[in-house]
């Protein structure tokens, strides 16, 4: 097996962990890969670099490959999702002023929060999100669309500056990935109200993406990359490994923030406001368990539907979530594979056992806050 060097783009966030761990703990080396991790200043830059061939693969927001495949925003390019890198892991927070306005709301109650926010507002709520084609933005739209009298103004703010944006009064609220929500709490400029899970319990957050052409002509490298990331994500989900993961991620060449800002996301103990005790949140950020890395075609369909795609667009989106490659490349290393590549998104209220290649696997709850189910199957 010849040694391969791959340029892999990422944005410094806690959920870039599978890439960093694959490199730092030698999971890539075991597959004869050198991962050259290239930090990107913005999602647009990362997307352009991938589309133009300067990156072989990249961590992307899950809606990005879908948007690119159906020709939305920036460079149109055929980009595939090889696997999911992380599920959930985002937080919604509001400024102290808004918190005073809306009064006490139980943490994580998406319905109560909507009711509280819709009252007494004479201007739109300005909500900072990291990127237009981001799960944060889709969840925000999905959550608020049921309440037309709550007017939302979406503002794109680079995550590292989200805390400043709240402090300056530039945004009233934000939906952001960690550690940037915890940073806003640490700087005492905002309070966290809920997590992304409170709107969708199993939302694919970041994905491993690569150009379709490149994937087709580099089969072997793709397989090794996927295996290395799979092993890294399995390592990351083990509780005993969390302290080391926190330390590695915090290093200057990666996130360059103090460990106490990384710890909440990795251990699922979120401090909602300064001096409050942490709240334990199960499945706050998942890397591996419950088939977290499996690129469900139905997840792609949901994303495309939220982006307003028509039937043809939804089919394109489904095709770019490469569950076929996942099956082919990971079955040899003991990955348990679900029996189907699509599920009715939102239909699981509880953890549920489903048929898999090794018998049964447990899928996590994936319900939406409004109890609806998304089952996209073409009517024949």
């Amino acid at each position: 097996m010849s040694h391969t060097v791959l340029n892999c783009g990422y944005v410094p966030l806690v959920d870039c962990a599978p890439l960093v761990i694959a490199k730092e703990l030698g999971f890539a080396a075991e597959e004869a890969l050198t991962l050259n991790l290239v930090r990107q200043p913005s999602w647009s830059a990362l997307r352009d670099m991938l589309a133009l061939g300067h990156l072989d693969a990249a961590q992307m927001l899950s809606p990005m490959p879908v948007a690119m495949s159906i020709g939305l925003g920036g460079l149109p390019a055929q980009v595939d999702t090889l696997m999911v890198l992380s599920v959930n892991g985002t937080v919604f927070g509001v400024s102290h002023a808004v918190a005073v306005d809306i009064g006490p709301v139980p943490f994580g109650d998406a319905h109560a929060l909507l009711r509280a926010l819709r009252t007494k507002r004479d201007r739109p709520l300005r909500v900072g999100v990291p990127f237009h084609y981001a799960m944060h933005r889709l969840l925000l739209s999905y959550w608020t669309s049921s309440t037309p009298d709550l007017r939302i103004e979406e503002v794109t703010v680079p995550p590292p500056r989200m805390a400043d944006a709240v402090a300056d009064g530039f945004v009233d609220a934000f939906w952001v990935g960690e550690p940037w929500g915890s940073l806003a709490v640490q700087q005492n400029v905002a309070q966290l109200m809920m997590t992304g899970r409170n709107v969708w319990q199993f939302a694919p957050e970041k994905v491993l993406a690569a150009r379709h052409d490149w994937v087709e002509s580099n089969e072997d490298a793709v397989r090794r990359l996927m295996r290395a990331i799979f092993q890294a994500s399995a390592w990351l989900d083990k509780p005993k490994n969390k302290p080391l993961a926190v330390e590695i991620l915090g290093r200057s060449e990666h996130l360059s923030v103090s460990p106490d800002l990384i710890d909440p996301a990795l251990t699922g103990h979120i401090v909602p406001r300064q001096n409050a005790p942490p709240i334990a949140i199960r499945h706050f950020l998942q890397f591996h368990k419950n088939a977290a890395t499996f690129p469900w075609r139905s997840q792609a369909a949901w994303i495309a539907d939220q982006l307003g795609a028509d039937d043809a667009g939804i089919e394109k989106a489904k095709a770019c979530f490469r569950s076929d490659l996942y099956r082919r490349n990971l079955s040899g290393i003991g990955a348990d594979l679900p029996g189907a590549s699509e599920k009715a998104e939102g239909s699981l209220q509880f953890e549920t056992a489903v048929a898999s290649t090794r018998g049964h696997m447990i899928l996590a709850a994936d319900a939406f806050f409004d109890g609806s189910t998304f089952d996209y199957t073409r009517e024949e």
Binding site: P41, S44, D48, G74, P130, F131, P158, P160, A165
Partner: protein, 215 residues
């Protein structure tokens, strides 16, 4: 909704007066926080004959400035983290038809070529060689104009097709309801439109909408 062009906010860091002899009617917005670089870039642009240049350093004003000034081209450093914000503003203001040129610090001809070949409004400029700014920007703008023209032709063609479908549906409704021929239906639509000083497509649209409501 069109935003008026003459209503730029005053919080621009640098605003340069129009020089009538050099003005090529191109409105350029430079997003850059380093004052030295801003001066270099603006000087290079002025030397190249573009004088309607605004520079913006304060990121929080980017949103408003782009919406209100509607620049024809936005120049921003490839490494600037505010690119995501700029892109979002482009969707929000339907200005994806606006050229965005990117500066990179190191010369990278492959990347430049790939960006141009991709045929998008993202053009990479060798940021530190100011003497190259003119040809690269001219190429970028020419390509951008061509793309915009192609896009508007495509939009017009799509609209024409949509209109024809609507008129066909309206004709069909009239044929069924009044038992008249296709030609007679079309003449009826046309006569009604002329009588009310409206377009045939508007009358057809009203008829189709009404029929949908009644069905």
């Amino acid at each position: 909704m069109r935003v008026r062009r003459d209503s730029c906010p005053v919080d621009l860091v640098t605003a340069f007066a129009n020089d009538a002899s050099m003005n090529q009617n191109l409105r350029i917005l430079v997003v850059e926080s380093d004052p030295v670089r801003v001066r270099d870039i603006v000087d290079a642009l002025r030397n190249a004959g573009w004088s309607d240049v605004k520079a913006l350093a304060q990121i929080s004003a980017l949103d408003r400035t782009v919406k209100e000034c509607t620049p024809d081209i936005v120049l921003i450093d490839l490494a600037n983290p505010d690119r995501d914000t700029l892109e979002h503003i482009s969707y929000a203001t339907e200005t994806s038809k606006r050229a965005v040129a990117l500066f990179v610090d190191q010369t990278d001809d492959d990347l430049t070529q790939a960006a141009l070949n991709a045929g998008v409004s993202a053009y990479v400029v060798d940021g530190l060689k100011m003497e190259r700014i003119k040809p690269v920007l001219q190429t970028a703008i020419a390509r951008f104009k061509l793309m915009r023209q192609m896009q508007s032709e495509l939009d017009a063609a799509k609209q024409a097709l949509e209109d024809r479908k609507t008129i066909d549906r309206a004709k069909g409704i009239l044929m069924r309801q009044r038992g008249i021929s296709e030609d007679e239906s079309y003449n009826l639509l046309r006569k009604t439109a002329m009588g009310q000083s409206r377009k045939v497509i508007d009358v057809a649209q009203a008829l189709v909408t009404a029929a949908d409501l009644l069905s």
